[in-house]
């Protein structure tokens, strides 16, 4: 299949043992999984003390090969693998407990490599090993989780299935074409020295199977009493590194011409233009087959040769298809082939939060809480998928006729799993919307879900007061000089505890903000005593620097007065 990307050599033997409890495997999936998830290579050694060694190692390898590819595309490799291993661990552990005989417990070691784009992610637990050969530099990447109790006796300290608490080694590094990885079980590497291993790998040439067999044979000749398994993986080229291909994909579909009412495109009849800006045109249309009203969004011809823009545009639909929530815009699935570049979504009949704010001058708190709660649920759905919205603002939030609130624009969403894919398209030139973007983002630091909490808090603040927490002059150049303006300055009846919750969500330093959306939403409805205490704390505790400065200034003034008094100048 994608044999061009990597070459594989494998060999395993039960050796002198009755059965082979080692499992191993390599999976090169088809696109798009290759791009979003990468290649998995793994070796696992069922723990010999247990009867279920084979079952344990096999189920571990299987879950990495299948379950991993079912995790969300938007997750990072680390998140995805961790979730899979956590589930596997729980299952293995549960199997062990359910059988009364402790001998029947399931446990396995595991060393796995995920190669996504130009990066290798290594996950390791137990005493299987992964070696890397680059040029003529040969080194072991893993550390055996073994403890030596005497010169000839040692025990495995960590493995999958032993304990509910799971502690896995993780590291990542860049791979290069030509890199060679050797996976071995302890039956091999305890009987073959690193130098011998290296020499065998170096001399096997293109026949990697032969190399793997030679290594295992040497271990057996040297007296290995265990199963012997060896797997060799060579990187021939990096998956998806072709620059021309990336650009070709971006321009595969042409941008549609300006559409006017009555025009038909791929089975959609345009009813009218809803909105047009420098960046996009949005049309109301009807699917002629189903009669369903939909919204067509077409990219502006202004950006036909801007890869960054096209990349973001394509991602919008990608996101819509992968995150389902009542509070996020639903993308409509295409049944007909597309001739042009555009996205199709449900038509939300209603008004934007911006116009809602215009209509409801002095909104009441319970209504605001309801809306904020819904936005937060939408955001939470994104955060759960390791996506950060980055451009939350009243213009991007719709309230439909039934009062359901939806976030409608995913044009700036940052997707952790996609960020891992290296691409020639330069990212991060977008700055979100002035006034709603968190300070760290304006200043060019990486953003986190806390940045979205900031934006949401700005919106809440605006809904309550009609003003902005840092004033109209908020920008990357003024941010350091500006301070939080209490919402009570504009709306004196606002309970102090709500103002305190807003203040915390709007702190310039993301570390000092709420860590979770739910905490913020909760504090908007329930007085948080911790925050209130800060409010009544003495000056010394709230602003120590200011306090001591004041003391020092006072001392200087007193001393001067004293001097004047004494010398009578």
């Amino acid at each position: 299949m994608s044999a061009g990307i990597i070459s594989i050599g494998q060999y395993s033997s039960r050796g002198v043992k009755e059965d082979n409890q080692d499992s191993y495997g390599v999976l090169v999936p088809a696109e798009p999984a290759l791009c979003y998830k990468g290649i998995v290579a793994v070796v696992a050694d069922g723990v010999s003390g247990c009867d279920g060694g084979k079952i344990a190692s096999e189920s571990c390898v299987k879950s990495l090969m299948s379950d991993y590819y079912c995790t969300a595309d938007s997750w990072t490799v680390k998140t995805s693998i961790s979730k899979v291993l956590l589930a596997t661990n729980r299952w293995l552990h549960g199997q062990g407990l359910s059988s009364r005989d402790m001998q029947r417990g399931l446990a396995t070691t595991m060393s796995a490599l995920v190669i996504k784009s130009a990066t290798a992610h290594m996950f390791h637990i137990g005493d299987t090993r992964i070696y890397q050969l680059r040029g003529d530099k040969f080194e072991c990447l893993t550390q055996d989780h073994r403890v030596w109790v005497s010169a000839d006796k040692n025990y495995l300290t960590r493995a999958l299935g032993i304990d509910l608490k799971l502690d896995i080694d993780y590291m990542n590094f860049l791979v290069e074409p030509g890199d060679l990885f050797v996976f071995t079980t302890d039956g091999v590497h305890e009987f073959v020295s690193d130098t011998a291993l290296r020499d065998l790998v170096l001399h096997c040439g293109d026949d990697l199977d032969e190399g793997a067999r030679n290594i295992a044979d040497l271990a057996l000749r040297n007296g290995s009493q265990d199963n012997v398994s060896c797997q060799i993986l060579r990187i021939n080229q990096l998956p998806g590194a072709d620059e021309q291909e990336v650009y070709r994909k971006l321009t595969e579909l042409p941008i549609p011409p300006p559409l006017s009412p009555g025009m038909k495109m791929d089975g959609y009849r345009v009813i009218r233009e809803l909105h047009a800006s420098k960046r996009t045109q949005v049309y109301l249309a009807v699917d002629e087959e189903t009669g369903q009203q939909v919204v067509l969004k077409t990219p502006s011809v202004n950006y036909e040769d801007d890869p960054l823009y096209l990349d973001l545009f394509l991602h919008e639909e990608w996101i819509g298809k992968r995150v389902q929530s009542q509070h996020l815009l639903t993308m409509v699935n295409h049944v007909r082939p597309k001739q042009f570049l555009y996205s199709v979504s449900e038509y939300v009949e209603g008004q934007t939060l911006r116009s809602w704010m215009h209509d409801n001058g002095a909104a009441d708190l319970s209504e605001i809480r309801d809306i904020v709660g819904q936005i937060a649920r939408g955001l939470h759905a994104l955060h759960k998928m390791e996506m950060i919205h980055q451009d939350l603002k009243p213009e991007n939030i719709m309230i439909d006729r039934h009062g359901t609130v939806k976030i409608i624009d995913f044009g700036s969403v940052k997707i952790a799993g996609i960020e891992e894919v290296t691409t020639p398209v330069k990212r991060l030139t977008l700055l979100g919307t002035k006034n709603y973007t968190a300070p760290e983002y304006l200043l060019g630091y990486p953003c986190t879900p806390r940045s979205d909490i900031f934006s949401l808090a700005v919106i809440v603040y605006e809904m309550i007061t009609g003003h902005l927490p840092y004033g109209e002059g908020y920008s990357e150049t003024t941010i350091n000089k500006l301070g939080y303006v209490s919402a009570r300055d504009f709306y004196a009846d606002l309970p102090v505890w709500i103002d305190k919750a807003l203040e915390k969500a709007l702190r310039k330093n993301p570390q000092r903000r709420y860590g979770e959306l739910s905490e913020f939403v909760f504090d908007l409805s329930n007085p948080n005593n911790e925050l209130l205490q800060e409010y009544t704390e003495p000056l010394l505790a709230r602003n120590p620097v200011g306090f001591w400065r004041g003391v020092a200034l006072l001392a200087v003034v007193l001393n001067i007065l004293l001097l004047v008094k004494i010398f009578g100048v």
Partner: protein
């Protein structure tokens, strides 16, 4: 947001368009407030013809480097602040000009006022932020065309105003009035508009450094095409050096030559820096374009906009000197020339949209070459209405040509529209400087002939070297179905 541009609307982006073209209008009125009053100023200061021509040239000289500077500043400070700043700053320069007591002061004021001409770039950015692609061309046509009309307003109003306010200092008051208007409008502009529509996502603008080219021959062509921008400034220095007017001493002029050469050298190095990856890997298909297209549009705009700048500057004096008209009458007939902007520039753009880019340029440049060559036959025996009609014809083609050039600019390579437009704009000013320098050596008919010949040369380039930009990829069938045009 409306489907079509509604000129009578004063809401949303139409409001921004109206306020912005008026800002450009004011800036243009200030930039050319001296031309219709030149007759009076010449008498008051007892200026020689050479000195008059130097004033006219100085007025367009600083615009060339100022455009580049303003282009960078607008990235940083946004169009609202920049346009306000330019209008307010120019009101002071204008006052300085009005209060000048010597020719030297007049010259310095005029030189600094060249900065006002860079306002064009700012407004183009503003329109780009507020209008969707479909309407941007038309909006920019209105902005450019109606704004340029500001010079007509100056020509029509200022001589009368000067006469009415009276006396030897009438011209000073007239200029002073434009200074006050400019100041007030600058302040108004700041409070009347915002840089982007409310709530629009803000993107960090890309660095407006050197342009990216996509082949090695294009790289050389680009370096060569950058030279005239500096050459025009060198020409000005030469004009003022001992070889010309003798205004600068030899050491000073040599120092300036050297400075210009160094800056050009730096520019060439910078162009290389930006494009050095040409030598290591191929450029992806989606980024490829041919620089000759840019070069031809540059030269075309040099003729169309350059001739406009030159004619607006010289026509009032031309009517006075050749036909003995009064300053007021000359102002009025000369003011008729830029009036053509109202329809010709947007018209040129529309014609280009409908009839094809290349064909439109061929028609308009044939018109430019012919009309200017006919005008070159002018002598004192011609009836004034005939001369006026002929200049109007010239204006019609030239301004239509400007519109047609700018209709094609975004089609070269979208993401570089700003840079291509900036370079063409600079060439427009180079043309103004070049033609006015020619005028300082020759008579008006020969000057017209030179413009006509330049038009003919560009016509040849357009015919033989300009490629029609690749057209629409989609067509609309009779039942309204939009479908891809089968290229095969």
């Amino acid at each position: 947001m409306s489907e079509k541009i509604n000129l009578l609307s004063f809401k949303g982006n139409m409001r921004v368009l109206h306020i912005t073209w008026m800002a450009f209008f004011v800036s243009f009125a200030v930039w050319f407030n001296h031309a219709p009053l030149m007759v009076i100023i010449r008498d008051v200061f007892q200026l020689s013809n050479q000195e008059v021509s130097v004033l006219l040239i100085l007025n367009v000289a600083l615009t060339i480097p100022a455009r580049i500077l303003v282009g960078m500043l607008v990235d940083r400070y946004g169009p609202r602040l920049m346009f306000s700043g330019i209008l307010i700053a120019s009101s002071f320069l204008c006052a300085f000009f009005a209060l000048a007591e010597t020719f030297q002061q007049l010259a310095v004021a005029r030189f600094l006022l060249g900065f006002v001409g860079a306002g064009f770039v700012v407004g183009i950015r503003m329109i780009g932020e507020w209008f969707p692609a479909k309407q941007a061309g038309a909006a920019q046509g209105i902005y450019g065309g109606w704004g340029n009309f500001g010079s007509a307003a100056s020509a029509l109003a200022l001589p009368t105003l000067a006469l009415w306010l009276g006396g030897e200092n009438g011209w000073r008051y007239a200029i002073g009035v434009t200074a006050i208007i400019s100041f007030l409008y600058g302040v108004y502009y700041y409070f009347a508009v915002t840089d982007t529509p409310k709530g629009s996502t803000y993107f960090k603008s890309k660095k407006m450094g050197a342009m990216e080219v996509t082949s090695k021959t294009d790289l050389v062509l680009y370096m060569l095409m950058s030279a005239p921008i500096y050459g025009a400034l060198a020409l000005l220095v030469w004009k003022l050096s001992p070889a010309g007017m003798g205004w600068f001493g030899a050491p000073l002029s040599n120092a300036i030559y050297l400075a210009i050469a160094v800056v050009y050298g730096y520019q060439v190095f910078h162009i290389y820096q930006v494009n050095k990856n040409l030598f290591s890997k191929p450029v992806p298909e989606m980024f490829r374009y041919r620089f000759k297209q840019v070069a031809i549009l540059d030269l075309a705009y040099m003729v169309t906009f350059g001739s406009e700048l030159a004619l607006v500057s010289m026509l009032p004096l031309f009517y006075v000197d050749m036909f003995g008209l009064s300053a007021v009458a000359a102002g009025i007939v000369a003011g008729a020339y830029p009036v053509m902007n109202l329809i010709a520039r947007p018209g040129g753009g529309m014609m280009s949209d409908r009839m094809g880019r290349k064909r439109t340029l061929v028609i308009l440049f044939t018109g430019i070459a012919a009309s200017f060559m006919i005008l070159a036959q002018v002598d004192t025996g011609w009836a004034v209405p005939l001369v006026v009609a002929n200049t109007l014809l010239c204006g019609l083609f030239a301004k239509g040509g400007s519109g047609a050039v700018f209709a094609m600019v975004p089609l070269i390579q979208r993401r570089m529209t700003g840079q291509v437009a900036g370079m063409a704009g600079a060439y427009g000013n180079v043309g103004g400087l070049l033609f006015l320098t020619v005028l300082s050596f020759v008579s008006a008919p020969v000057f017209f002939l030179v413009i006509g010949a330049a038009g003919a040369a560009v016509l040849a380039l357009v015919i033989f070297y300009l490629d029609e930009p690749r057209g629409q990829t989609a067509e609309v069938l009779e039942d309204g179905t939009v479908q891809l045009i089968d290229v095969a």
